[in-house]
């Protein structure tokens, strides 16, 4: 067993978090070393801090195609989602009591919806097919009553990368006058995400999935939508989130958004080629490999696969000890791994779901990383199978 020094490590878990880009780091260091200043202050330092936030707002708006005035900064994707779900359900008319979501939402959406249940809402979960896409017809059927307060669908799945039929669902929501929340946390930076094109009224994104700092995110709120505030305490973020802004982190988020938008086209092509290499070689090395949702429309950077008889949890540990960071897809706060609700919803057995591994690439991934991963994987898989006697 070899525990590699950090410098030699290969990081293939960008869907969990993407390392901070050097340009982001530089901006944040500059701001932290600068004069400071509260963005709400009138003086020069305050005005400088305000400008940093408003610049970032422009940059984040630029990534999404939203207007800057529609960008509300939050502490991250989960907070943005929670703000949207709470913000809508707290102000929903009393005869609108249902929240419609898809089965493969991120736990942030499931949990926020569950929380709304305590406030008298009813959550309806629409299943997905084996391709990982939500069943559009069933989703639309659920929207047909007059009692839906909110509908939510993610843009791309964090575990499989599967893209969801947003436009169809969004159009149906708009026609029915139902507020539509899109969790674009995984899609942001990996493909164009314009809320208008999918009729999103609210859209959540996260800074650290783009190579920005952890602890940043935004809720894009379409003009004309009113939400109950998440944090009261001041007039910041149009009274939606009181409290002094995290200037340095928001500025870092802005830089990450700008870089991601600027490089998106070539980066998408690069990541697709890396993945094609990875999946082709995996198929050659392991004829029994099972790719999940490989034929669906996916994000360019995500591969989810299973090797029969190789528990994902054990493989992740064995690979970590060899210097490779990958994921089973679903982590939970306690650190122990539960079978993925996403793969279960796609009809996989618990055993198959537990045998799954997610490889997700990003801005820092090189072809060499993929080759080193492919070099080591057969030996590690052999060791796991032998150790477990399979």
């Amino acid at each position: 067993m070899m525990i590699h020094a950090d410098t030699q490590r290969v990081y293939l878990d960008h869907n969990a978090t993407s390392p901070v880009r050097p340009e982001v780091l530089e901006t944040m260091q500059r701001i932290l070393a600068g004069p400071g200043g509260n963005p709400s202050s009138m003086h020069s330092e305050g005005r400088a801090a305000r400008k940093q936030i408003e610049d970032a707002r422009l940059q984040v708006a630029g990534l999404t195609g939203a207007k800057p005035s529609e960008v509300v900064f939050t502490s991250g994707g989960s907070e943005a989602i929670s703000a949207a779900v709470r913000g809508v359900s707290d102000r929903a008319p009393t005869d609108r009591r249902r929240i419609v979501i898809s089965a493969t939402e991120h736990s942030a959406v499931h949990e926020a919806a569950k929380h709304a249940v305590r406030r008298g809402m009813l959550v309806v979960t629409v299943p997905c097919g084996p391709d990982g896409r939500v069943d559009v017809e069933r989703f639309k059927t659920q929207l047909s009553g007059d009692d839906v307060a909110l509908a939510a669908l993610h843009w791309a799945n964090n575990e499989t990368g599967v893209l969801q039929p947003l436009e169809e669902v969004g159009r149906a929501c708009r026609l029915a006058g139902i507020p539509f929340l899109v969790d674009a946390v995984q899609a942001a930076g990996k493909m164009p995400i314009d809320p208008r094109e999918v009729f999103a009224d609210m859209m959540a994104i996260s800074g650290h999935k783009l190579g920005g700092p952890q602890g940043t995110g935004a809720l894009i709120v379409r003009e004309g939508i009113t939400l109950a505030p998440l944090v009261s305490g001041g007039a910041q973020e149009k009274r939606r989130r009181g409290g002094t802004e995290a200037v340095c982190a928001i500025a870092g988020f802005g830089v990450a958004a700008a870089l991601t938008a600027q490089r998106m086209k070539e980066e998408v092509g690069r990541l697709v080629r890396l993945r094609a290499r990875l999946e082709t070689r995996l198929r050659e090395i392991f004829p029994d490999v099972r790719f999940h949702a490989q034929t669906s429309q996916r994000l360019p950077n995500t591969t989810n696969f299973a090797l029969p008889g190789v528990p994902g949890e054990t493989l992740v540990i064995a690979l970590d000890l060899e210097g490779f960071a990958v994921s089973t897809g679903s982590a939970c706060a306690s650190g122990a791994v539960e079978p993925s609700h996403v793969l279960l919803a796609m009809g996989l057995s618990e055993e198959e779901a537990r045998s799954s591994l997610r490889v997700s690439t990003g801005w820092s991934t090189t072809g060499d990383d993929i080759d080193r991963f492919l070099d080591v994987l057969p030996r590690v898989v052999g060791q796991v199978r032998k150790g477990l006697g399979r």
Partner: protein, 357 residues
């Protein structure tokens, strides 16, 4: 690594020796069924945080691994079945045999490790003549856990390490302070690790939905006279005195449980005395097979200090145990473990109905 002081110190000792280590904490039982914020005596997020802090401090990686399914199948369900069948379960022995030194060893090998070290108090040493791995009592007899380890195979023992075997609890706490472990003064965990604080095993089984269906039956004396009624044989174990709702001038004890007739047989203290029983699924340690009678000191429950007995092999991995002096409450389902001084010779599982005079 449970997060307790013993496994923490065991790991820290090996780390200080420069051994390459991977820390594992076993998630054995999830949040208690139906309740969001209660945990068993083990496996709480706080316990795992303690374990992780030790690993960080000593500089080795640490993982929480999900072993709930194995623990349910190999420990909890047999535990529930034993109670339902009128036996006295020994979950800690099964946990060692099937979880820590089977599943966990397999997973350790899967990630490239060769051995599994735990915070058990017992001594392992190689017999140069036979090449077998011998099991001895811990030097601190008040902490000795060799009884719970008797059912490991030679291969399992060879893959195990017990760094604490020659230390006293005080020395272990001293080492914890020396290593500056945050949990040096953490209180001892006792009893069934998977049952929540302030709860007994019956409450646990009920909440897990594993309590056998309650069926009332007769309480009889040893001559078959009906003395009263009971609610369920699952409420009784051999040797139990409390909870026998029968008026009597003498103290009454459960002598045996007859699951087929749903009968609980009770009697006076001296009726509990028997001088022989049969054990099954025997395991021998210095040798693989017992080929003739062997004498030693037999422990018939974990807190028994042992009594002279002779074990004679029977077919099918069974053996007959004859005690020099009659023993109280030889309980089916419990492990009977034979010692020669501090050396564990082996043992087996007490067969229902086999205890006789």
């Amino acid at each position: 690594m449970s997060g307790g002081v013993d496994s923490s110190v065991a790991a820290a000792m090996l780390a200080r020796e420069g051994r390459r280590l991977v820390g594992f904490s076993m998630q054995l039982i999830d949040k208690l069924a139906g309740e969001a914020e209660r945990y068993g005596r083990c496996c709480s997020p706080e316990d795992f945080k303690d374990a992780r802090r030790v690993a960080e401090r000593m500089g080795f990686p640490h993982y929480i691994i999900d072993m709930e399914q194995e623990f349910m199948d190999r420990v909890v369900l047999p535990f529930a079945r034993d109670y339902a069948a009128g036996r006295t379960p020994s979950p800690c022995v099964n946990c060692n045999t099937f979880i820590k030194f089977d599943s966990l060893i397999a997973r350790s090998r899967a990630v490239g490790a060769e051995k599994v070290a735990t915070g058990h108090y017992a001594i392992l040493e190689r017999d140069p003549k036979t090449g077998r791995t011998l099991l001895r009592k811990a030097r601190d007899l008040t902490k000795d856990q060799s009884y719970f380890l008797f059912d490991l195979s030679d291969e399992q023992r060879a893959a195990a390490e017990f760094p604490l075997g020659r230390l006293s609890k005080d020395e272990v706490r001293e080492l914890a302070r020396e290593f500056r472990l945050d949990n040096a003064d953490k209180p001892e965990s006792m009893d069934l690790c998977f049952v929540a604080k302030g709860e007994d095993y019956r409450g646990f089984l009920e909440r897990q939905g594993l309590m056998a269906q309650r069926e009332a039956g007769e309480i009889v004396n040893s001559s078959g006279e009906v003395l009263g009624e009971h609610g369920s044989i699952g409420d009784y174990t051999v040797g139990q005195r409390k909870g026998i709702q029968v008026p009597s001038q003498d103290k009454l004890y459960v002598l045996r449980i007859e699951p087929e007739q749903k009968r609980v047989v009770v009697g006076g203290g001296d009726e509990l005395l028997n001088d022989r029983c049969v054990i099954e699924r025997t395991r021998w340690i210095p040798f693989e097979i017992l080929d003739g009678p062997i004498s030693g000191s037999m422990r018939i429950r974990s807190n028994d200090t042992g009594s002279p007995a002779t074990v004679t092999p029977l077919p099918d991995g069974r053996a007959e145990v004859r005690f020099d002096v009659p023993q109280r409450a030889i309980a089916p389902g419990q492990a009977a473990v034979l010692y020669d001084g501090d050396l564990v010779l082996g043992g087996g599982w007490i067969v229902a109905g086999s205890a006789t005079k």
